[in-house]
Symmetry: D2
Subunit: 160 residues, 4 copies
């Protein structure tokens, strides 16, 4: 059983047509798993739905607590890409004995040209086979939490 924690980020942004702006609603994750015809046993819980630039230390602590307290030893966390590495670090230094993979998207799933579905498939596979540790899965690759950064000019994640 894989536990999936949703925290928001571009992955789940949508368009609010009355306000003409980006906004959060319910997660699209279940719909995406259906689209992927996913047959992995997963349990999805939304912890929060925010832009990761708006995450506070308290938010990150609640993500850490949720991962630590979860019954499952394999956990996928969907997260905004801007501070994904920060949350990965908080998890890497506080949680052990579990395989935790963070992923997100550069373009909202609700849009036509999103990388969300590709990243979800990618992260869900990594979390099933990687040994205990905390990882970031983006751009088809997976990185140890302390060996990755987001290149803010290109938007791509790279090894450090």
């Amino acid at each position: 059983m894989i536990r999936i924690f949703v925290t928001g980020g571009t992955f789940d942004k949508q368009y609010d047509e009355l306000r003409g702006a980006l906004a959060f609603g319910d997660t699209h994750l279940l719909e995406m798993l259906r689209l992927g015809r996913c047959r992995v046993d997963v349990d999805v819980r939304t912890l929060m739905m925010i832009d990761s630039l708006d995450m506070t230390d308290a938010d990150r602590r609640s993500i850490v607590d949720a991962c630590r307290d979860a019954a499952e030893s394999r956990i996928l966390v969907t997260h905004g890409t801007d501070t994904m590495v920060d949350t990965a670090r908080a998890l890497g230094t506080a949680v052990s004995g579990k395989t935790i993979v963070l992923t997100g998207a550069m373009v909202p799933y609700a849009f036509g040209s999103s990388d969300g579905l590709f990243n979800l498939g990618s992260a869900l596979s990594f979390v099933q086979v990687l040994p205990p540790g905390v990882y970031v899965a983006m751009n088809g690759r997976c990185f140890n939490w302390d060996k990755v950064r987001k290149n803010r000019d290109t938007g791509f994640f790279e090894a450090i």
Copy 2:
């Protein structure tokens, strides 16, 4: 470097509007890797573009030869789902020392509700981390070549 061999299947089917029928054209794989913002080093080659129900022993032999002769030790093969297990068997009994993952789609990528992008992300992740062997990656899961079958009633792949 991951080698990707394209053989067709529903994954790459498209709609021929003049004939009003399904057909094959160029592979959509490069476009899908771009959409996924994939930064894995891959080299894509199209071996054939056919429905796997039309595959002959000669076709399967050429897939086996291509995998054996490839310089890379990690290979992804896109394939129709109907006889994916047959090609996986041909590879499993003939090629060793390489990590080979087969994947496909139940709905063409060219359609709106395709599992193609999810499966591509999934398979690309499995092929990077699994030990040498031949695997089928479908529905978010990965199976050893000799422990899987396609359930023709549901369309899902399951362990045997």
Copy 3:
């Protein structure tokens, strides 16, 4: 009030993933009108769901009867493009005093690159403003039923 009669055609084709073939299910018309945020009073009825190449004289007669018997004087008919002109002729020679517009699509709405939504918006507008007569609305244009043909090489409709 606009009456909409659905007869099938590429407009409503979808992909049957278990058989790996094109097929008909329920019409997508209501979903398309919702997507277009359409506020025109319409009443939708499915007369049949077939490829227009499979239409018999009996099928065309039932479309003529339905149009003649309808309470509404403005009617939109969705139809396969291959024999749309034949049905337009049957209507043009048998029904008077009503504005009837036929439209269809070259690519199924269920696919990503469909002209269906554009044609629906186009036809729905023409049917609201044109004087009584029978018309074909395709490629953004509208043609009198006896002055149009489908160019089978290009797939476009043109005036004759």
Copy 4:
């Protein structure tokens, strides 16, 4: 020949993935006309690419001038929905002898669930058949410029 003037609005908004925000780039109109397999003779020119809430009187005057100076007597203007009626009024009181239709979208075309393609087909049909005047084409309907308003609670356009 139909003249199309692009002024921006939600119709053409897109997602800037590096900034994580909505933004304007080149118009999608040509791509949309291709998707619709449109065979109407059109000439597209971008006057500006802005949110209509940001339009100034000077902007509206330049739209009026462009319409007045255009060689064509049938003109389509794509526009943000928020102040579409204001621009329609500016045109209605200043330009005569031409058929001018304004349209837009509640959801960006770049998104999956957009009304843009439907509205484009709708407006392009109205502009071909309506007599000289200024009109707003939204929600499948067409309104005279001085008999319409946008209902800001529902997002729909209605007759007054």
